[in-house]
Subunit: 343 residues, 4 copies
């Protein structure tokens, strides 16, 4: 069995890793850390795990973590970049769910996160963990930076169009919406049920931290600079991201449905829906899956792509397990066969 | 007191008219019709109205309705266009909340609604009931066609930009989201709580019936043809519309905040929020109000406008009462001073 | 105009007082205090109030508050009991929405709230502000203690049965459920949307602070000691309380429907529903109203009463305004005529 | 592989069977029927199943179903009782999720369901499929009647108390609440999101069809007649049942926590929570599990038991699979190891 450690286990991506790994045939969670909850049983904090794990939260000691084959960082940014170098030196593989290693340019990272990067030399080594783009590099990586939730949905939606050079890359638009679990399990008035239930709003319209990550990823695929207007919104629900993408077609008339179906034909976790069927977040709830639709409304020159994921699964913990499977040579779908919880 | 009739009182815009008119100092509802619920007390169907109305639903007889000073049609399309001519002949004013008189071009109407128009000669007489554009015409109209819910939010959001000629009118984008009450009070599996709660999806991406209405209204303001890509989405909540609008600036650098504040300075029901404050549907819940924000992200050339309304109030029944007030020379805010229900 | 002050205006009962008083013909809010938000405009925190109030939050200075005719305390417990004596001395009337003056027995109060009472001599003067029981005393009171939200629903439901001596007062049961706004606007993980949405749970089963208040009120009506098993639950929604009450009939066969209709016949804010119609929280949302049903299932000896209120209106701010109206000799319904927001 | 047929696959218990059986190592769904959707692919109706099943809905032909080893009826009542005799004759085992075989007394069944029973002779053969009570009989049964959702939660909560003779069986009270999925996937105005979201209500207070089933099951355990006052409520969410149970202790002072822990010690799907921890529906969402708490508030003589299940899993399809496993000699937990989806 592969020995797994989780740093920062009290948040939603932490408990989601535990949920998924409980059904993983080859992985065993041997350590889960939390300074705040040190000593508390995991299933006391998360009663859905009663009978499944006997673990208690422990201090995030590198010595303990270094005994693991792979360590997941389910932490806010600014934690992994301080601990990862020591773990890599000890031969432990790392899957970082935080933002610390997603942007290759250290100064760009600092601009958006407001502090210097603690281990900038690893930025070039870290592999961006979007398997649909980087599967081969992930397979040999010591350090994988899991994409953010919005970036996963936006990139999977735009990639075929940009790779085929069919749209104007200077004026991409993404109108995305996320469930509140994306904001984490922190005590903030803004995320109280009484504040965000029964309501919808945009936020961070001036610039969201996921923007440079998305533009970096799309530029890699397009082979040139891209410019995206990205507006995230907050949905009155727990799980799910829906991205509605708009781009100007430079060459109208292409069979975009065929393009997308071809592009993702062999991807186990990307599902291109039939023409005229639009994705719903509820059909991917709890599942490691992205569902996509493409439509050109009224035969004009703007293409619309819709992409849905569960922000905690394909947008975080599921994709992290997928990356682990690839890094360790396991079947990519291991532990990830759960079906979306509908209704 | 003004005698008011309501045709089609069992839907959500019907009960919302009753809620608003209960506090209207000059209006009295004397007739409310429903074939299906004929004879049933209104407060038996809608217990929130107990003690407020003693009315029962009646058959939609033109004779009865013609005794009213004003009649609201809170019906699906295809009802008003058959009854309105007779009412107008009897001297009754009509505020139609349905789609029957919103589009001036009868053939365009038929194309989108799949049948011939029953009273096409009235299409040129009907005034499109967006007071922020047509207040003077509404004041003298016999027949006002209340805008749809999406169109109200999209037009109020785009109008200043288009009137000032600051954006490319050929590539407008509207990514809108509505609460489920917009789908009406009809028994459909698609609108069950178990189907639409906890989920988010786009729909009618190929073409929604509100599109021609929006393009007609925006073209009037722009003084030229406009083209809009309009994608509506369904929100897991009851009330509220949020439209996120995107346009390419043809002349960057304008003070758009000042433009919007100036444009709507004297409008009692349009509220331009301070810079950096983005609207939430919850702050207009139950209120006849549109709240707006303008932002140009990252100093690029795409402007983002956000507009929120309560789809049943400023998007339907509240705007209908506002139109009635204007038509009858009453203070425009009469009966519409209720504050948004927050939280 | 009556000059109104509000202490503690940043919580949900504070903003609800502002919403209701905005439509009150005789009251004007002249001061609203908050230490944390001192200097901030009220409509910046609560954008639903834009255009309605020009107020900013101020420090809770007794000098300023003493210039008001009436002061509402919309605070947690332990604030009012320190400030009220000075205000009463200055001739200001007080409506306390907190728990400080609800329990007449100072030692019982201390037992449940964990500290000595700061102004115990006022406990006997304070009038318990349930108008359906104490209207005459309220009319002459200087200090009114507004009932808690659960206690309002439970007492209005049980009172006719207990007053008529028809049930066993030693084994009353109340299974109540409240929307999350009852927990206030405080940053707590437990009240995040991601924690309480899509879920239902009981809490404080061992003993909730509203229990002694309820038992005191019911004992007054019954003329003897009562014992209640009270289990509160948390609903995945913002507003609304539903109490399901059970009692053993000592004299089966009474016409309980007639009893309730008679008891509440002249009450403007208590509505006994027809037989077989059960109350829903949505029909009282935003309204100062309690809707009630009585049923004896299957002709056995247990009676079930269901009572619904909006916890922020009849359960807090609406009842507070109702008390103010009574204290000041105004029409009891002034400012409270808003209809429930359905759907 | 065991060949499985599902009759009535378009409802929520049907799609839930498919979700669970997708991970079952020994079962293969070979037929799923629906008259209305005959010929339509299952994953077209339920896109969460894309890539998991290649099935299409077929007509409910007994010949086809008889080739299955086990057939589930996920139908409204009145379907199974007509088809089951033929299937049993063909040697197929049947797990009926509907109400047709839950009540042993045919006249009592007819009283509650308003029609004669079509195969009354099977009522005595059918085994009531609550494994915690009837595991041995289920193991040898041809026909298992799966308990209703409310009855599962109420019986599991009351059984230890009644079996131990610790409470008054004549005055049991159950205040239960269910998510809307319990009402099925049928087009009814009453279950629209706009009707039941943001609200809470009791229903069927005069008598719910699950009452005789519960009383029958509790009487079996108590060894004498029991009388229950059962009030179901509708929760504004999709999944989950919470039952709050009240009973008068005839012998106060017993260690009820120890009683419950002992009673359910070896049950894989019943989890007695530690003292003072109360169950939430969200911790059993998607899981085949009942979580229970016991509390005697304030050392009085009324005991409160709280029980939560996912109405579609332990309250329906999960329990059905559990029964199938027992009937076929498979490990009882096979296919049922999924962890609750939290948050």
């Amino acid at each position: 069995m592969i020995k797994v450690g989780i740093v920062g286990g009290t948040g939603y991506t932490g408990v989601e890793l535990l949920r998924l790994l409980a059904l993983h045939e080859e992985a065993e969670v041997v350590a889960i850390t939390s300074r705040a909850e040190c000593g508390r049983r995991v299933d006391d904090l998360f009663p859905n795990l009663r009978g499944v794990y006997e673990l208690a939260f422990s201090e995030p000691e590198p010595g303990l973590l270094a005994t693991c084959d792979v360590v997941f960082f389910a932490t806010p940014h600014n934690v992994a970049m301080n601990l990862v170098p020591e773990l890599l030196d000890a031969g432990t593989r790392v899957v970082d769910l935080s933002a610390d290693y997603r942007i290759r340019d250290a100064s760009l990272w600092s601009e958006w996160y407001g502090e210097p990067h603690a281990s900038p030399r690893l930025l070039s080594e870290a592999v961006y963990g979007l398997p649909e783009v980087n599967r081969q590099s992930i397979a040999t990586a010591r350090l994988v930076a899991c994409p953010g939730c919005y970036p996963t949905s936006v990139q999977l939606g735009f990639i075929p169009l940009l790779a085929a050079g069919l749209v104007d890359p200077e004026h991409l638009i993404a109108s995305s919406a996320s469930g509140v679990s994306g904001a984490g399990r922190q005590a903030k008035v803004d995320n109280l049920l009484s504040e965000v239930s029964d309501s919808f709003k945009a936020y961070a319209v001036g610039g969201h931290r996921h923007l440079p990550e998305i533009e970096q990823g799309l530029a890699d695929v397009a082979g040139r600079e891209v410019r995206l207007t990205f507006v995230p919104h907050l949905l009155p629900m727990i799980r799910g991201i829906h991205s509605t993408l708009f781009a100007r077609l430079s060459a109208p008339g292409e069979d975009l449905q065929a393009l997308y179906e071809s592009w993702y034909r062999d991807e186990p976790f990307v599902d291109v829906l039939p023409p005229g069927v639009f994705p719903q977040t509820r059909t991917v709830k709890g599942a490691n899956r992205c569902q996509l639709s493409i439509q050109v409304p009224r035969q004009r020159d703007t293409v619309v792509v819709m992409a849905t994921i569960d922000n905690l699964v394909k947008g975080a913990s599921g994709q992290a397990v997928q990356n682990m499977n690839i890094m360790l040579g396991l079947p990519e779908e291991m532990g990830l066969r759960q079906v979306g919880l509908l209704p």
